[in-house]
Symmetry: none
Subunit: 412 residues, 2 copies
């Protein structure tokens, strides 16, 4: 079974609103093992919408429209579906009564325009709307194709999908399921990862692997489909083992796991505490660590030392050392890491100093140069990196490298 | 002139990634008065992509593809465009040298697969990529149609669009223009703002107003179209004056302005310096302030005090005060603000302490309770708020309120 999604709304074409509905519907279809081959967005324009619906019905078994079911004149989906499928619009009394009751509850007089929302194409299965007035519906067409219409506001659409659409599609999709698992890697470029797993990216068959690059991170996504949850999980696990054997230390977590979450778990497991000192990242490392609920169990705090004074007073970095080496140097990174560890009385001190740009770089110390230091009672590790990208990306990559340095140390 | 956008990537169809590229491109086209009639998303599938390109070229004057230009085997856009337009792929030496130089700068050996990114369809105008390896390009076809290919990562695509595509499209489009201006408000809910401007939201004519709510922020977007830049700007300015007269202190900036940027400008203008102390926001306030390039001119640093020890030692908060009132209290917020101001020797100390949740709340001090304090040589201001939302939203709202407290003080 394959599907196409049609999003309707001029505001989407004009870029006023990010289209998260197709993302949600894409995820829902993938979960059910229904192959979504195309998403189309058109404006509130009957001719283009009609053309889009007919083209989609010519190609796909299931077509889902989203948006344009409201009571106003620029909501054209209902009439257009009626015309495109040759179905009359018929008043559905229970739906109309539901809409009327909704206005009554809110003590608002129902505008005449809302009466139109009680209309449905002949033969449609209505999906009542718990959180708005526009009902959705499912229409089985003669050639066994299915057309589904959903309202546009995500708060109305999402519960309707879970309550009414998913149960019906589960029956129709005939049990085939599709699952995916994302392996998250850091510490190597997309090309370096690609070189290690290129043959697996060309896998054809029940399980496939895709590679996706983000700043400071490369994802490998394994996708498999099959007749049962067990079969699909086994296929994914087989490919995962082959990947992990090649990427080793680069892999830090899967799916919803985050680098800051994984580092937090490792600290907790090892009963270690952490303090941070940040210069160019400006608080990002601490902010990421404290996104994790419960991080107060291992994170004691940090000092963001944008001025040399704070490095000296707050972190006990000797002013002489600052003058001799400059704030962006391995020596200062080391001194910051030790300073924050001693200040907080933690097991680890993690420090970042660098030049995030766009200004402040020099030939000797260019934009993107970042020193990261990890200090513990037994020693210090200091790394030098040259990150590319704009200010935000350099800062993110530096935070990623800092968290990863700690992760790799905790794994040893 | 009309346009269609084709986004390429199986991860978009599967809902793994929200498609913000078409949103950005839609906004860019609207700004130039180019009518975007359709957005299509297809997977990394040569046959479907080829069909989508040919259909779009049959309908639109301008077709923009986005994604699939990377170095890996599942990046099929370049070859597919070559085949769909009947153009050979030719090595572009300057582009290749740029890619090679990029690897050299990063001291990484260039993988063979990246060489392929030096290829362009015959006759294409290359768009060099400042932040990645894949170049974009513009191809004029025989029937005077234009095909543009852009890389998928937004960090690479957006600067390329502004630098290379927009100037070229400006020359080509001519005629009617559409502009919008977003007024950003903080310190009131959507309903409160709505009550102040409801009549303006119903404006019909050349200029319209929309309201959009985000956590800790409400946007009012004025949109106008007309024959000339001057005419459109005048229409927007008229509506803007009417709005500003009603929302006063809630308005902090427009369009690309950020709250942290506006606060930074005010500090700079007043020649004042700032230090921060954060508890529940974990570094977010500092991280936002330091997103602004040049923030070292007014931001001295911060202490993220997750443990009481750091509050006492790093910020000189008396342990007795902590025991008496607890870390989440107006007294401790005030002591933190003064402590960080004294430590850094800054003009202002800004402090946040609260309960971000989901755990740690109590009947007396529920999740979402946040105290914010601003301390200066002449006094202290302390606010109490109860924010709703999850951990991330509560933290963001707290950072927004902290920055806004400083902004309103600097405006006095």
């Amino acid at each position: 079974m394959n599907a196409e999604v049609i999003a309707i709304g001029t505001e989407l074409l004009l870029g006023f609103v990010v289209n998260t509905n197709t993302t949600s519907l894409g995820r829902m279809l993938a979960r059910l093992g229904i192959d979504c081959t195309r998403q189309v967005t058109v404006g509130d324009n009957p001719a283009r919408l009609s053309e889009a619906i007919q083209t989609a019905l010519g190609r796909a078994d299931l077509v889902i429209t989203c948006g344009g079911l409201g009571p106003t004149v620029d909501d054209v989906t209902l009439e257009t579906i009626g015309r495109a499928t040759g179905r009359r619009l018929i008043l559905n009394r229970p739906i109309l009564r539901g809409i009327e009751a909704r206005f009554k509850r809110q003590k608002i007089r129902m505008p005449a325009s809302n009466r139109r929302q009680g209309l449905l194409p002949e033969g449609a299965v209505p999906f009542p709307n718990q959180l708005g007035t526009a009902p959705g519906f499912l229409l089985r067409l003669k050639n066994s194709k299915i057309l589904v219409a959903l309202p546009g506001p995500p708060a109305e659409m999402l519960p309707m999908v879970e309550q009414h659409l998913v149960p019906r599609l589960k029956k129709l999709s005939g049990g085939r399921i599709l699952r995916s698992r994302t392996l998250k890697l850091t510490g190597a470029t997309e090309s370096e990862v690609d070189a290690k797993v290129r043959d697996l990216l060309a896998l054809e068959g029940a399980a496939t692997v895709g590679i996706y690059a983000h700043p400071g991170q490369v994802d490998l996504r394994i996708t498999a489909s099959g007749g049962s949850e067990r079969e699909v999980k086994r296929q994914i696990a087989t490919v995962e083992r082959r990947i992990l054997a090649r990427v080793r230390g680069l892999f830090y977590g899967a799916d919803e796991e985050t680098l800051e979450g994984v580092v937090g778990q490792l600290l907790k497991k090892n009963r270690k505490t952490l303090a941070v000192a940040e210069s160019c990242t400006g608080g990002l490392v601490s902010e990421r660590i404290t996104r994790v609920s419960g991080s107060s169990a291992y994170f004691l705090g940090s000092v963001v030392s944008y001025s040399n004074e704070i490095k000296s007073i707050g972190l006990s970095v000797p002013p002489l050392l600052l003058r001799r080496h400059g704030a962006v140097s391995p020596q200062i990174a080391g001194a910051m890491a030790e300073g924050t560890r001693r200040l907080a009385g933690s097991d680890f001190g993690l420090a970042v100093t660098g030049i995030a740009g766009p200004t402040g770089g020099s030939k000797a110390k260019p934009v993107g140069l970042v020193y990261i230091a990890l200090n513990w009672a037994g020693g210090t590790r200091i790394t030098e990196s040259l990150f590319s990208g704009n200010r935000a990306i350099i800062r993110f990559k530096a935070s990623q490298a800092a968290l990863n340095l700690l992760r790799l140390h905790l794994l040893k």
